[in-house]
Symmetry: C2
Subunit: 324 residues, 2 copies
Amino acid sequence: MGEGDKDFYHGKRVLVTGGLGFIGLNLSLRLLELGAEVTVLDNFVPPDSSGAIEQLRSRLKIALADIRDEDKVERVVREQQVIFNLAGKSGAADSNTAPLNDLDINCRGHLTILEACRRLNPQVGIVFPSSRLVYGKPRYLPVDENHPIAPESIYATHKLTVENYHLIYGRLYGMKATVLRISNPYGPMQSGDARAYGIANKFIKAAVAGTSISIFGEGEQRRDYLYIDDLTEAFLAAGCREEARGKIYNIGDKRSVTLLELAELAVAVAGRGGIVKVPWPEEYLAIETGDYQSAIGLAQKELGWSPLTELQEGVARTVAFYQQ
Amino acid sequence: MGEGDKDFYHGKRVLVTGGLGFIGLNLSLRLLELGAEVTVLDNFVPPDSSGAIEQLRSRLKIALADIRDEDKVERVVREQQVIFNLAGKSGAADSNTAPLNDLDINCRGHLTILEACRRLNPQVGIVFPSSRLVYGKPRYLPVDENHPIAPESIYATHKLTVENYHLIYGRLYGMKATVLRISNPYGPMQSGDARAYGIANKFIKAAVAGTSISIFGEGEQRRDYLYIDDLTEAFLAAGCREEARGKIYNIGDKRSVTLLELAELAVAVAGRGGIVKVPWPEEYLAIETGDYQSAIGLAQKELGWSPLTELQEGVARTVAFYQQ
């Protein structure tokens, strides 16, 4: 993010929906550093093991509400200048087990927010985090934004649906929305439901706890893992650049490693834990997408953004967080 | 459709959801002709000006229920061998005015049906009618199934979502679903809400009534109009071919005409009515997709299907229907 981009947030009224989740907490803290007036909308306060939420309470507004609650959503979106629309339920495997629940939270919730913005605040800038999972099994690598779309889970299907909501509200009502297709974020400050953790955090947490990291099969799939601070900068860049409106950007790391390499790195950096290979659980095998590598040239060019944190460094910082 | 395909339906238990709508009525009548045991699921009985519904009552089961009603849906899908999944709310302009309603009927409704099938009848064959609108404004013509996806309305977005539901339930649970991306169907037996009529039927009905056909702008957009009997045959072919499972097919006519040419044909065949050019209403201009022509080679090859009715002939039959 350029210096101009950072100044942009000073004194701006910014809403972070899902702001008490992993990405939301990191983004909110960064926005406070940049001098923004931050409101967080979330439907529950997760276990605050790191003390991050307690630390935030005095510095920002926390609106406890569900994004499906039209009245409360209307009240909170009115005065905002930028909305980072992070709320929702994550987890591809879960979404297949409870598809109607995923539909209700992830589609109805986001449509409720967009309708409120259309009526009360159509000028607001919006950034929506989608997922690399909308591409399904890659047909070529690295995967750019023109890669065919083939979601393999209800979660990915609904991410695509909500992408389309944002783009359509842009075309129909001139609303200023940007979509980020994010690869595999990891880093400090994941809290809440452990099942919703990304795989990298699960591995690092297990290593720090001295337990075994379970690898499905041989762990040969390659993925690019994106350090949370780099992801935060991508959100900030997308939220302030006019040329990003109505656009979709892949946001991921420049290089990929195998799951086994990631696990070995976590164990080496933590100096504890181990690795055990287990058979693939059926529900994960069904949605496994194989190797993935983001092509991030468009974001580098148009958002002036690039990931800066090497995997080794990111894992070390995350290990340090869990060791506290 | 080949002769073998026709025999397939003899004695088969077939469910047509949305079976009292335009496509549903035509398909149900054809299924009865082929000797199928037809159940129709619909949430209301539309005005029966043609007497078609009265004629059907003694020959098939009508289950009056909403597709969002889990208990009733479960009861009706249990024993079926093929489901034509036509239920839902049509209308792209309407969907943008009431997006949450469109979400509830078109996404929650179809997910409810699929969940019921997964639990109680995973062997059933399913055909889902999607729309050519999932492609948005064509980047090239004719539009084949690999054309990029860019829905311009909430309706088209939700059609895409439900396509993905069907494909995902195929991959995850081995369910046998086929998706048809339909262009612009027209023909006899449209009943119910006049706003949901296709443009061709609107034109023909206006001409027969001796009123003016309103053309937006110059009426230069080209479209391929598919006669309902040809569409019905496409459904039947898709519902009985194992090789169609998990696939998407464009279903449209072989040639396109401009809206103005269509209106002139309607007036000429009806021998009444006229044409008036009016400015584009904003809500239609916002979702206008320009020229469209289906590429139907894949359906011709794999379904053994091809449209047989010339536009002149189809319009003449539809005029005759409205003249009754």
